[in-house]
């Protein structure tokens, strides 16, 4: 399955992926209108220190703890991608408790928000990868390693 992969050697720490993510999932067609003056809730986060930066988003785990643990059944698998039916979510944050990468967080309404690979927002491919100026984020198929 194609996933979002991050190469930290190439990450510039520019945070563009966060903006592109928030825009792609805003439902707006104008970036300024979508983002200006608003608190953003991107599903990808750049972290690091002065030397190292990298972006973290959902790994779409082969055996996702969040899907198994979700008390409402909002989190589910769609052909390998881990997706969320936000109307089912009750905001208990059990998913935040179990995700080993800290890749899921509540949105403004309290329901969980996570990367869904831009599969259902009309983008067709992850906006973070498409817009990364240094190709530090890529969307591709890599070997399904055993853990």
């Amino acid at each position: 399955m194609k996933r979002v992969y991050v190469n930290e050697e190439w990450c510039l720490g520019c945070h563009l992926c966060e903006y592109n993510c928030a825009f792609a999932n805003s439902g707006e067609s104008d970036m300024v209108k979508a983002l200006k003056g608003k608190t953003l809730y991107p599903r990808i986060h750049v972290e690091g220190d002065e030397q190292i930066t990298y972006a973290v988003s959902c790994r779409h785990c082969a055996d996702p703890l969040c899907v198994r643990s979700c008390i409402s059944g909002a989190l589910h698998l769609e052909e390998g991608a881990v997706c969320i039916s936000r109307d089912k979510c009750v905001g208990c944050l059990t998913c935040v408790l179990v995700c080993p990468y800290g890749a899921i967080a509540p949105g403004p309404d309290g329901a969980a928000l996570k990367c869904e690979l831009c599969l259902s927002n009309g983008r067709g491919e992850p906006a973070c990868a498409a817009g990364c100026p240094n190709r530090a984020i890529v969307y591709e198929e890599r070997g399904e390693e055993s853990r």
């Binding site: 944050l93 408790l97 080993p100 967080a105």
Partner: protein, 410 residues
């Protein structure tokens, strides 16, 4: 074709179906449950009362789950006997049901001590099933005075669910603190203040000694008038069926890491079991939804001839009350980090160089990084724990960890 029978149609039972079907698409699966409802998020019953979900959205794996998986479900039927030698079950209907592999996903039941004068109290409820929530919905209106015995998370969730529906909600508990099984004396007062600020009346360190009609006489001598009583003192594993059949049972049904009981062909998963708690180093009751789900799936895979293990079990719970998030995980050994403010608290516990537990109130951002340290028994000297302590992030895990997790399929 193999004949699988699953006793209990809740989280562990549904996950067991998923486990079986991941290996065996054909075998005949029958699910038997004493409840009228199945496959719903049990913790959602309080959210239902609160109006944050409804009967359709509460379905855990979707309304067509059993049909999609070719499962026969018998609702409001109980298994009354398990005969492991004859490989058959006796049902409350009198019928006998043969099986090749069976899984006990019987969960837990609410228990109630004998209170003097309890029997005549007409409007009394437990709070563990959807039927309980539906009954409470009918019994409570804007004038109703509700008394809940038990300030554990079930009692408090019930209180939250009823606050806007009822005239008043009082919660009492013999323990000195709310959620005493999950929180300690440093963290609990923050929750208690928050609950009271949100309109609940708490009577801690005090409980009912007897009922006189619609009045509860408390240990302290106080009197609480009530219309509706909810008993939420605790739950116990439903292990009688297994015990009668000769399975090894301690507090719960004992299982190994493949979810096998001591009886051949008999598996068990979820709240009815007692299994290894790796943070405590000894078996315990790991009665929360994530474990029921993981164990159910593991059992199903093994029943169908696949191979799976459940070997990272810990207690872990995430719950919120009126916007305040609370997480607790693992075993509280030696405190290695404590941060307490007006709004929240954070406590981390470690022993023998590994994280064993934590409590978080308020800021719960990326808590899964801590949970993962416990579950993976990550040696704390292999990461920069001084940084992780303050702020859970992947930075202190080092480049090779990140390269593997962020650069590879996990």
């Amino acid at each position: 074709m193999k004949k699988y029978v699953i006793i209990g149609g809740s989280i562990a039972g549904v996950s067991c179906v998923e486990g079986i079907r991941s290996i065996d698409p054909e075998g005949e699966i029958t699910v038997i449950t004493s409840e009228a409802h199945s496959n719903y998020g049990r913790p959602l019953i309080s959210y239902y009362l609160e109006g944050k979900t409804d009967l359709v959205r509460m379905s855990w794996r979707g309304a067509d789950f059993f049909e999609r998986n070719g499962v026969t479900v018998l609702h409001e039927v109980s298994v009354t006997k398990l005969d492991p030698e004859g490989q058959k079950l006796t049902l409350s209907t009198g019928a006998a049901l043969p099986y090749d592999e069976v899984c006990l996903c019987t969960g837990s039941y609410p228990f109630s001590p004998k209170f003097e004068g309890l029997e005549p109290v007409e409007k009394r409820f437990f709070f563990t099933t959807l039927a309980d929530a539906l009954a409470l919905e009918k019994a409570v209106d804007r004038l109703t005075k509700v008394l809940i015995i038990g300030a554990g998370f079930i009692g408090l969730k019930c209180a939250e669910g009823l606050r806007d529906r009822a005239g008043s909600v009082t919660v009492c508990d013999l323990a000195k603190h709310a959620m005493s099984a999950n929180l300690d004396a440093d963290c609990a007062p923050i929750l208690e203040k928050h609950l009271e600020a949100n309109g609940l009346r708490l009577m801690l360190g005090d409980t009912v000694v007897r009922f006189e009609g619609q009045r509860a006489v408390m240990q302290s001598g106080k009197i609480v008038d009530f219309d509706v009583l909810v008993i939420a003192i605790g739950t116990r594993p439903n292990s009688a069926l297994a015990a009668q059949a000769g399975a090894k049972v301690n507090r719960g049904i004992l299982v190994d890491e493949a979810m096998r009981t001591s009886l051949p062909g008999v598996f068990a998963a979820g709240d009815c079991t007692e299994s290894m708690d790796i943070s405590a180093g000894e078996p315990g009751l790991l009665a929360v939804l994530p474990n029921a789900s993981l164990q159910g799936r593991c059992a199903g895979v093994n029943m169908a001839g696949g191979s799976d293990t459940f070997r990272k079990g810990i207690k872990m719970n995430s719950i919120g009350f009126f916007g305040l998030h609370i997480m607790s995980a693992g075993t509280y050994t030696e405190p290695v980090y404590t941060e307490i403010t007006e709004q929240g608290c954070k406590k981390l516990f470690a022993r023998d160089g590994v994280l064993t537990g934590f409590i978080l109130l308020g800021d719960v951002h990326r808590a899964g990084i801590y949970t993962s340290l416990i579950r993976e028994k990550t040696p704390l000297d292999s990461i920069r724990f001084d940084e992780v302590k303050l702020d859970p992030s992947l930075l202190p895990f080092g480049r090779s960890y990140r390269a593997k997790k962020l650069g590879g399929a996990v």
